[in-house]
């Protein structure tokens, strides 16, 4: 009993830390004027999200999050920002325009709408969940699901990645015809 409650307290502490880091770095991405700092804040956001995935016993997704996002995608972002050059932009300067006021109102409306929909649909039933067995979320289990139940999604994902790679090459290729 004491061990269980101690574990509960530890999980709560980790959750509060990761959740706060997640929200704060999300706001930082949107509000920094230098794109370089925004990209660095997004790395923090992705790392704290990986901690939340681990708390939800999604081990493989957490590892893939760190490898794919923080490892590959963010390095590509940083390269492109360094290539284009940091362009400062002050989103909150010059007083509120109708566009910024409308954007804040729309984002707040989306947030309230999601919260209300979730609370109305499944308010009390989401409060506690049962334990899962030990294999839930492990790489072997994910791989078995990918190659049995979700084989079509797996194959279509590979085609989507291939098409995106071809598109990136075509957009980035330096030809004399387009110049």
């Amino acid at each position: 009993m004491i061990v269980a409650s101690t574990g509960n307290v530890i999980v709560w502490i980790v959750w509060v830390g990761a959740g706060f880091a997640c929200l704060a770095s999300g706001i930082a991405v949107v509000s920094f004027s230098n794109p370089f700092y925004s990209a660095l804040a997004l790395i923090g956001n992705l790392g704290s999200l990986a901690v939340l995935y681990l708390l939800l016993s999604a081990e493989f997704v957490a590892a893939a999050q760190v490898l794919v996002y923080a490892g590959a995608v963010m390095v590509m972002f940083l390269f492109v920002i360094a290539y284009v050059g940091p362009r400062m932009e002050t989103p909150w300067a010059g007083g509120p325009t109708w566009q910024s006021v409308g954007a804040v109102l729309a984002a707040g409306a989306i947030f309230v709408e999601i919260i209300v929909a979730v609370a109305l649909k499944a308010g009390g039933r989401l409060s506690h969940s049962d334990h899962v067995n030990r294999t839930f979320g492990t790489p072997g289990w994910i791989g078995r699901l990918f190659l049995t139940d979700h084989l079509l999604a797996f194959e279509i994902t590979s085609i989507v990645l291939l098409i995106a790679a071809v598109g990136g090459v075509i957009l980035g290729a330096h030809t004399r015809r387009t110049a």
Binding site: A4, G7, N8, V11, W12, V14, W15, C22, L23, V29, V30, P35, S38, L52, L56, A58, V61, A64, Q65, Y69, A72, V73, M76, F77, V80, I81, V84, R87, E89, P91, Q99, S100, A103, V104, A107, I110, I114, I115, V118, L126, H128, S129, V132, G137, W141, I142, L145, F146, D149, A153, T157, V160, L161, I163, A164, G167, G168, V169, L171, G172
Partner: protein
């Protein structure tokens, strides 16, 4: 399940989605618009994984991994567009890139 319930994770997911939507609407640098899109996709991913844990069903995690692959594709094409725009000496400002306006 130790710690907070699924509803708390869904709250974080909703906040992340709203923050990303705010960034997409308010920023004019296309690179930061792409970064905000990543935040929106990650909010969706967090909700998917939370529901997967709640239902004890692996389909949510498979869906989250597929969303990550789609996000990587989107970043690939989006950054290719940014590089192409920059090479043509056009302004990196989504409000001024309006040549296709009818």
């Amino acid at each position: 399940m130790l710690g907070p319930g699924i509803a708390w994770y869904l709250g974080i997911a909703a906040f992340l989605f709203a923050t990303g939507a705010l960034g997409v609407l308010i920023r004019r640098n296309p690179i930061i618009v792409l970064l905000s899109l990543e935040i929106m996709l990650n909010g969706g991913n967090l909700a998917l994984i939370a529901f997967s844990r709640h239902a004890r069903n692996g389909a949510g995690q498979i869906f989250a991994l597929t969303v990550m692959a789609v996000a990587a594709s989107e970043v690939c094409v989006g950054l290719g567009l940014v590089v192409a725009i920059n090479r043509r000496r056009l302004a990196l400002d989504v409000d001024r890139l309006s040549e296709l306006r009818g």
